[in-house]
Amino acid sequence: MSSIPMEYYLILSAFMFSVGVAGVLIRRNAIVVFMCIELMLNSANLTLVTFSSYLGNSIGQVFVFFVMTVAAAEAAVGLAIIIAIFRNKKTVNIDEINIFKW
């Protein structure tokens, strides 16, 4: 593991994050947007683990556990919201859910 340079992990993480951002910004389906958010969270997790491992400091890994817990809770709530919206509007396309405007 130590043979693989740290940059590789960071580049992978940055790539995953960028994919997540792009997905959030351009996808219409709320489920997909939601998955992209998970992707961004996990890319951040990867970065944390990388630094933790390379610096020999376990705090980063502890943080990752917290992030995963929160992400799980957020996933539960988020999916519930999406289901509630679907029941009301028969759609999960977020460009059709635009009632919060002037």
């Binding site: 959030v24 351009i26 947007v33 635009n98 919060f100 405007k101 002037w102």
Partner: protein, 648 residues
């Protein structure tokens, strides 16, 4: 010093009466209890004033002016106002009149207001009035005086509009009340300016300090003139002189005891009292003295001439009051301050009596006030008739009654200090007074009965009303003997003048000394004026008692002049056209429709529409599409990161 130190009770008791009747009167309901509380508060005050008066009489002359300090009232910067009462010859004289006549009128009111749904309210207001009036006359500085000054104005307003649901002439009683209040405010403004100027000039508002400084400080005559003029403007408002007299005739919208107490005996004399109190300031401004005298003289003759043709019994008396107040200012203006206060006193007796007698007639005639619809009431109301007749003799100045002494002293002072023209106009006014008063008596008590016998059954009033009439009639007869002219009583014979002399000594020192006139001259003038008055009485009786058609012929012959008098010289109409209409039109056309609507509203609405149009443009960025917000956020974060990286 014991009773003098209790003088604060004379304001405290009426205040207590006001609070009890005002707060609980509606619950008490029982007219007897309310009336007794109201009357007792004033009656006990009268006894205290009487005690203080007797005690002061026992003191040597130089110790007769005492100050009773109650508490420190205002402390602002260098201004220290104490709430204190000045018990001296002048304030005691006024206090005796206010509480004495006030008490009689309170008792009378128990009978007069019997059965009125606002009985408790009436007594509460009357007591409040006595409280304010006592502060006015007892105050030891201009601020306490001003407190009373405004207080009596308020009570006047409340009592004129007492029957607020009744019609009065072309409007309502509330309009009459408002008119009185507004006109009074104009005068009050002048009084306030005068007070400010006094404080600027003398650095004090305390009577003793101001007046001693006025006598000794080297102050320009123009400053004195300005102060005196402002104070006099205040006096014209309160005491119904030209040009601010228009409110007093309308004040007759109030119940008759109010007209007697406030608009004849006490409040309207406040201006005379104030001028008299500040005599040294007026005496230091000879020009303003002349203004005061001429104003008084013109008011006297003008009001008397209007009184000749009025048909409302209270209106005649109202104009008579204005006219008599004019006499008082004439006296003050020619430097005879004690004569003016003397006339205040005798006038309080006989004019209160006249008004109360008129009230008794109105009471007996079921609220009819038109003297053309009276006639022959003598046999129905003998007590009212006799007392009314005595008061009429007193006001016309028939020798031997109180009015003769005070009026004669004023006329003599007018001649001695003012000149022959002053005396002549004063004497003509006395003739007019005699004429319209006997016209009033003839039309009311003599002649054919001109009322509708089916609906109106004249009757004498109850004892509660007639006893005060008799007491006042007694005072109207004997009240003058405290001021017998020097020509009859010798150098120290005029008790009233001697009693008030110390108050006016500084003012008299500044005034030009009396010209040398012989006793013969004085007696001759007196004889002439008495003869004139008697002939006016005879003429009046001849016309109105025996040959009423003469009056009709004369009024037809001089129709223009008659209408001029009947319409009160069109002063009300002139004010309406010159003051009220421009203010109303200006307010409506400019202040409301242009300034308020266009400028004020325009500014407020302009700001609002600016915000609205701006936000109408900006709100377009709120698309409601979450992703567009996310894009903005991302771009923002990216830029922030870029800036961080570049700045490293």
């Amino acid at each position: 010093m014991v009773i003098i130190n209790l003088i604060y009770l004379t304001t405290l008791l009426p205040l207590a009466g006001f609070l009890i009747n005002g707060l609980f009167g509606r619950k008490i309901k029982n007219e007897k209890i309310i009336g007794i509380i109201g009357s007792a508060a004033v009656g006990i005050s009268f006894l205290i004033v009487l005690g203080a008066f007797i005690q002061t009489l026992g003191l040597p002359t130089e110790e007769r002016s005492n100050t009773v300090e109650l508490f420190s009232w205002l402390n602002v910067g260098g201004l220290h106002i104490k709430f204190a009462y000045l018990v001296d010859q002048l304030s005691l004289t006024m206090s005796l009149i206010v509480t004495g006549v006030g008490f009689l009128i309170h008792v009378y009111s128990i009978g007069y207001m019997h059965g009125d749904k606002g009985f408790w309210r009436f007594f509460a207001y009357l007591n409040l009035f006595i409280f304010a009036m006592m502060n006015l006359v007892l105050g030891d500085n201009f601020v306490v005086l001003f407190l009373g000054w405004e207080g009596v104005g308020l009570c006047s307003y409340l009592l004129i509009g007492f029957w607020y649901d009744r019609k009065f002439e072309k409007g309502t009683t509330s309009q009459a009340a408002k008119k009185a209040f507004v006109v009074n405010r104009i005068g009050d403004f002048g009084f306030l300016l005068g007070m400010f100027l006094i404080y600027m000039t003398f650095d004090s508002l305390n009577f003793k300090e101001v007046f001693s400084r006025a006598a000794s400080f080297p102050i320009a005559e123009s400053t004195f003139g300005l102060i005196a003029l402002f104070l006099f403007i205040g006096a014209t408002g309160k005491s119904a002189q030209i040009p601010l007299f228009v409110w007093l005739p309308d004040a007759m919208a109030g119940p008759t005891p109010v007209s007697a107490l406030i608009h004849a005996a006490t409040m309207v004399t406040a201006g005379v009292y104030m001028v008299s109190r500040a005599s040294i300031i007026f005496a230091s401004a000879p020009v303003v003295m002349t203004v005061v005298a001429v104003t008084g003289l013109l008011t006297a003759i003008m009001a008397a001439s209007i009184g000749l043709v009025q048909n409302d019994i209270k209106k005649v008396l109202a104009y008579s009051t204005v006219s008599q107040l004019g006499y008082m200012f004439l006296a003050a203006g020619v430097g005879a301050f004690s004569a003016s206060i003397f006339h205040v006193m005798t006038h309080a007796f006989f004019k209160a009596l006249l008004f109360l007698g008129a009230g008794s007639v109105i009471h007996g005639m079921h609220d009819e006030q038109n003297i053309q619809k009276y006639g022959g009431l003598k046999k129905y109301m003998p007590k009212t008739y006799i007392t009314f007749f005595i008061a009429t003799l007193a006001i016309t100045g028939v020798p031997g009654l109180s009015g003769f002494f005070s009026k004669d002293e004023i006329l003599w002072s007018a001649y001695a200090n003012g000149g022959f023209v002053f005396w002549l106009i004063g004497a003509i006014t006395a003739m007019l007074t005699a004429f319209y008063m006997f016209r009033l008596v003839s039309l009311t008590f003599y002649g054919k009965e001109r009322f509708d016998h089916h609906h109106i059954h004249p009757h004498e009033s109850p004892a509660l009303m007639t006893v005060p009439l008799m007491i006042l009639a007694f005072l109207s007869v004997v009240g003058g003997y405290v001021g017998i002219p020097k020509v009859f009583a010798g150098e120290h014979g005029n008790l009233f003048e001697g009693w008030l002399e110390p108050i006016y000594a500084p003012a008299q020192a500044k005034l030009a000394t009396f010209g040398s006139h012989t006793h013969l001259e004085e007696i001759l003038l007196m004889a002439v004026s008495v003869a004139a008055v008697l002939s006016a009485i005879y003429f009046s009786l001849h016309v109105y008692r025996k040959n009423p058609q003469i009056a009709e012929n004369v009024s037809n012959k001089f129709k223009g002049f008659y209408n001029l008098l009947l319409n009160k010289y069109f002063v009300d109409e002139a004010y309406e056209a010159a003051v009220v209409q421009p203010i109303q039109k200006g307010s409506e056309k400019f202040l409301w429709k242009i300034f308020d609507v266009k400028i004020i509203d325009g500014m407020v609405n302009g700001v609002a529409s600016l915000v609205e149009s701006g936000s109408g443009f900006i709100r377009k960025i709120q698309t409601g599409v979450t992703q567009s917000y996310a894009v903005v956020m991302m771009v923002g974060i990216a830029l922030a990161l870029l800036w961080l990286i570049l700045s490293l």
